[in-house]
Amino acid sequence: LGGAAALTFVLPFRANAAVDDVIAEFTGGAAVGDAGVELTAPEIAENGNTVPIAVSAPGATSVLVLAAGNPTPGVATFNFGPLAASQTASTRMRLAGTQDVIAIAKLADGSFARSSKTVKVTIGGCGG
């Protein structure tokens, strides 16, 4: 449970308008479906500074990952080349509080798909 250092804890952010702008830039304004991309992330982050996530979007050319509640939402764009054995990738990211992580994939046929997951960033403490 929070002691002195916990005073630096940041309030959970609301999703900001920049998210829509970044998505629109990636999709060129095209419609976004909900099938074709999978996002794996923990329910509760062990450490908000290094949250593991994985994306998987069979056949996709690229996958954009966003943190909707960070001061700037961008995280990474994975562009898959001809020698990618699968369109899956993992990385670790910073989350400035509990928020939705979003993955948008550009699929093989040029259409777009979206998946998101709420990741809780908690002050911690207590337990059985």
Partner: protein, 108 residues
């Protein structure tokens, strides 16, 4: 310039032709986001690795655009197809213009 930047890569030493292998990469780097302030309240300027690529014998496996939200000591895991014997080339591009490389040969 970030100091002590050191890439590390895990690639199997050999594979059969056409096999999919798992690659893991880590690079020690502070990934200064530009969002933090120093003890005097002055913003600490952004200094990150902004791009990572993996190629095999000149062909792209993955090319990743990185933003400041990527954690300190960036980690990536992905899968590559190995069509023949050759060499993986890993490249990290720093905001300050530095480029860090690592190469791993694989036999088939």
């Amino acid at each position: 310039m970030a100091s002590g930047v050191k890439p590390r890569v895990k690639v199997p030493k050999s594979a059969s032709a056409g096999e999919a292998i798992v690659i893991k990469t880590l690079i020690s780097h502070p990934m200064e986001s530009g969002q933090r302030k120093d003890g005097d309240g002055n913003p600490i300027p952004r200094s990150i690795i902004n791009r990572f690529t993996c190629e095999f014998n000149g062909q792209t496996v993955i090319d990743i655009t990185m933003e400041p939200a990527i954690s300190t000591n960036p980690y990536f895991e992905f899968e590559a197809t190995v069509p023949e014997a050759g060499e993986f080339a890993f490249t990290w591009y720093d905001d300050d213009g530095s480029v860090y490389n690592d190469n791993k040969a694989i036999t088939v």
